[in-house]
């Protein structure tokens, strides 16, 4: 038992008198952007990159929805449509959701574990710039791949570029080379980033921060980065093979030379399914931070949450072929992958119950981050349920590659991940910039986005069950799909308006927002102990912690947490 007079020891950092005074000139700012190795700036750059590509890929989605709004529509040409769906998918996964995961990990992890920076700051800058380069390479295909008819412009292969469509015989011109190279390059950035974050978490925790006292966000990031390290390399390997095939004439996936097109699917999904968890686990982490703070209760079932995350990490390695039920596998493989897919619902369910139990009986404050988390819980539950439905192989045979699948994974990626990212942004923006995001605009943003989200993606479940296949360019009237597609497109207007309000709020609050102070939410983890924005060295004196809620101990010396742990 620790000496009862001990309190946690934290230095007070010197905050700039008013945030805004130290913001400097534009050229200085740009120079700083390029040369910085500070984990906070790199984290914000990751998140900024994410929002930049989010706007680009979101406008692509708008064109897709406009094209599908009414039957026999011709807003874009079929080639443009194929390019749009490929770019929308690839960009949203690799250059929106991944930078968000790395951005939050970069900004928050060193602050929450009481470290001054990442383990390898220069490697960190390298990871960011390589990821950014990957994004630029992908968009270069618009400008640098012209030439033969049907060969210029963006890749037209869908985001998983199934063989043999990805071979040079069927995708002429360099578009798919750009796609492949882009994913190869960004994969390298992700792997180095993953190694960096893992080393930081395992070697740079402050005194007293045992693994069992780490905030849940950090735990989720550990599992995420483990998955990054183990499951990005299969993608890299597959892309190397694809490049060898396209550029040097190797025959890995060429069935005419004895190769197997199915092997590409296996390699891609060995990466592709853990990727879903790479994206969603940081979202779980954000929710696990926000829900307790706004329910005024410690998280319910901390050990269960940690165990569930680790179990999810392991099971996710063995579920990939549930994307391939319709390919035709042996009954044994089908049963195995259906079973493992259903199994993963158990730890996920544990998490949902823990978040609910945290809220149960709490004094809930309905601030904007909490609202987004409640939205997350609701939508993630439905996403999980449709996921279980699709995991049942016969059901999947019926509905795979229909709009039902589209609805399912947009519920995961928008309804869960993007909602959690919004929650995280509202929650940590005051820490990063020293000012609160406007609550009034935030409420508009939340309600418009939630309504738009449901208008867009709820009807897609129905049009999917009615048989509408994904990736179709247009459809004939009279199949019962018209009304659902129209509602879907109307929802985009609400989402677009919400996005505009959000972006406006980010800029407006940067100059005009309310001063935040060190700890505007009365939270408990270490990032709130330093000034907002934190100084470059984070903590003047490295903190020492005695429990999972160091700031609770500091604020309530009469009743600290460590007495009960």
């Amino acid at each position: 038992m620790a000496n009862s007079t001990r309190t946690i020891d934290i230095g007070t950092a010197q905050a700039p008198a008013r945030p805004g005074e130290e913001r400097g000139t534009l050229t200085g700012w740009l120079q700083d952007l390029v040369f910085t190795v500070d984990h906070k700036k790199l984290g914000l750059m990751y998140i900024g990159t994410g929002w930049l590509f989010f706007v680009l890929a979101g406008s692509m989605a708008t064109f897709i929805r406009l094209q599908l709004a009414v039957p026999s529509n011709h807003v874009v040409t079929p080639q443009e449509f194929n390019g749009l769906i490929t770019m929308h998918g690839t960009v949203m996964i690799f250059f929106v959701a991944m930078p968000f995961a790395f951005g939050f990990a970069n900004y928050i992890v060193p602050l929450q574990i009481g470290a001054r920076d990442m383990a390898f700051p220069r490697l960190n800058a390298f990871s960011f710039w390589v990821t950014f380069l990957g994004g630029c390479l992908l968009f270069m295909s618009y400008f640098c791949a012209p030439g033969l008819y049907d060969a210029g412009g963006p890749p037209q292969v869908g985001w998983f570029a199934l063989a043999p469509l990805n071979s040079s015989a069927f995708s002429r011109g360099p578009s798919v080379d750009y796609w492949s190279l882009s994913l190869l390059v960004t994969g390298i950035g992700s792997i180095t980033g993953g190694v960096n974050v893992m080393v930081t978490i395992f070697c740079y925790r402050c005194k007293g921060m045992t693994l069992y006292r780490m905030p849940l966000f950090v735990w989720m990031i550990v599992v995420t980065m483990f998955l990054v390290i183990m499951f990005i390399p299969p993608l890299t390997a597959a892309q190397i093979m694809l490049m060898l095939e396209r550029l040097l004439g190797a025959t890995f996936f060429d069935t005419q030379a004895g190769g197997s097109a199915i092997l590409w699917q296996h390699f891609f999904w060995i990466f592709g399914h853990p990727e879903v968890y790479i994206l969603v686990l940081p979202a779980f982490g954000i929710v696990s931070e926000v829900v307790p703070v706004f329910s005024r209760k410690p998280i319910f079932g901390y050990p269960a949450m940690v165990a569930a995350s680790v179990v999810i990490g392991f099971i996710s390695a063995g579920v990939w072929a549930h994307h391939m039920f319709t390919v035709g596998m042996s009954p044994f493989s089908t049963t195995f992958f259906a079973f493992s897919t259903l199994l993963i619902a158990i730890p996920t369910g544990i998490k949902i119950f823990n978040w609910l139990a945290t809220m149960y009986g709490g004094k809930i404050r309905f601030e904007v981050p909490m609202l987004f988390c409640i939205g997350f819980l609701f939508q993630f539950l439905i996403a999980g349920l449709t996921g279980v439905m699709l995991g049942v192989a016969p059901f999947d045979w019926q509905l795979n590659d229909s709009y039902f699948v589209i609805a399912h994974f947009h519920y995961v990626i928008v309804g869960a991940i993007i909602f959690a990212v919004f929650a995280g942004t509202y929650y940590w923006y005051p820490k990063a910039f020293g000012r609160m995001l406007s609550k009034k605009l935030g409420l508009w943003h939340f309600w418009l986005f939630t309504i738009g989200f449901h208008l867009t993606f709820d009807p897609q479940h129905i049009s999917g069950i009615l048989g509408m296949p994904r990736r179709i360019y247009t459809y004939q009237p009279g199949r019962g799909w018209e009304i659902w597609n129209l509602i879907s497109t109307i929802g985009v207007i609400f989402q677009g308006a919400a996005a505009v309000i959000f972006v406006f709020n980010m800029f407006w609050s940067y100059w005009k927002g309310k001063q935040a102070g060190e700890d505007p939410w009365d939270a408990w983890t270490l990032e709130w102990v330093t000034s907002s924005p934190p100084p470059e060295y984070n903590f003047e004196k490295l903190p020492e912690v005695l429990s999972r809620r160091p700031l609770w101990d500091l604020k309530h010396p009469d009743d600290p947490d460590w007495k009960y742990e």
Partner: protein
Amino acid sequence: MILVIMTESALFIIFVIAYLFYIGKSLTPPYPHQLLEFPWLGSILLFGSSGTIMVAEYNLKKGLIGRFHLWWFITLACGIGFTTWTITEWLKLIYRDGLTISTNLFGSTFYSLVGLHASHVVVGAILLSAVLIASLRGRIQHRHHEHIEIISWYWHFVDCVWAVVVTVVYIISVRS
């Protein structure tokens, strides 16, 4: 470095799976059993270098910088020797036997797997020579032995991969 080795292992596993999956699937000759000879020279050089790097480390820990230089140099020589051996093997395969990466599935999988390993040997040789140069200029002392150990881990890893490559490419696929 453990994490780097984990991620590298994942990368190699995929290439090994591709190689194993495509054994005997080539539609046109040449086939492995016609071309490949057991890589005695390369294996002795590479497996031997794992031993010599351990001797070098041992000497560094004891503070014997001169002996460290000698054994480290032998390790580097083994690495360069292995690379040279690979080059001669590939030249023979390409010019005498006409096996290139686009010939058939054997060519595709063979060159990608062995080539990936060879590129790791080259990276390892660059690391080794960087250490040797720094050391000859007197920059490496006894207190650096933990850093040196990390590099030797990488070298052992490359060695282990070679053991897998030999088993898969030069034993299993030749016999089947």
